[in-house]
Assembly symmetry: C2
Homo-oligomer: 118 residues x 2
DNA sequence: TGTTATGCATAATAAACTTATGTATGTTTG
DNA sequence: CAAACATACATAAGTTTATTATGCATAACA
């Protein structure tokens, strides 16, 4: 997957890419694909490497679902495809972040018995 | 996936099933498949529902990889297939738990900027 | 005696990735 | 100044990991 850990690859935790994309766009107004890969690399100190083969299809899907909208901008003779959240995308972002928090709580309950669900 | 949340399904966070299985076996000596599904349901207050279609193939794979070993026990005229960690399985469990902690830290850094990686 | 619970298993399908490849331009460096 | 690296998009083939559906079999319960 798109985790490039120092540890040998784990194949763990698929499914969080959309959450990452949406969250980044909720705090950055608009971003283009390559920018997202670099941002994630920077924030995670190289821990996560978003592959293009995962990223671009995901962006296309999120756009097709109406969560993102597109704007083309020509910079230095190269075209950037900027994405920004739609209103629906903003709502979905909140849902996905709640789901992530919930997942983390659940996993904590499973792996560290001192964290118990109420 | 095997998450049965109150929220509408998210398709998020595949890949943690093996971690859950191994962790449970690291604190329970030996368990059989059905027992694992019930244990997870109890600990997570019904939040996670491990489907049999996911569980049994995973157990078989972990066994084939040498992480689990099998013992058949007849109880009330029904046969239970008990699994326990091998030595290699114990090591792998530690690795997977570290990877999970690491993943959670990384995701926190991405979604809650106040958590920053060093 | 039919429904629910216990207990295992596999096949078909789908989702979400990895890996590999392709196209094209700009920048840096030996 | 040519090769390597960075920027920027995209898709196709294959893998992993799940869901959904189905099957078999026994026990308990109402």
């Amino acid at each position: 997957m798109y985790v490039c850990s120092i540890m040998r690859p784990t194949n763990l935790y698929k499914g969080s890419l959309n959450t990452i994309i949406l969250k980044l766009l909720s705090t950055h107004d608009k971003m283009y694909g390559y920018e997202i890969t670099q941002k994630v690399k920077a924030i995670t100190k190289g821990e996560l490497h978003i592959t293009e083969g995962a990223l671009y299809p995901s962006l296309h899907k999120l756009e097709a679902e109406g969560l993102l909208e597109v704007e083309f901008v020509k910079v230095n003779n190269r075209t950037r495809k900027y994405y920004r959240l739609t209103e629906q995308g903003t709502k979905e972002t909140m849902r996905k972040l709640e789901a992530l928090e919930n997942y983390i709580k659940t996993m904590r309950a499973l792996v560290s018995p001192k964290f118990r669900l109420e």
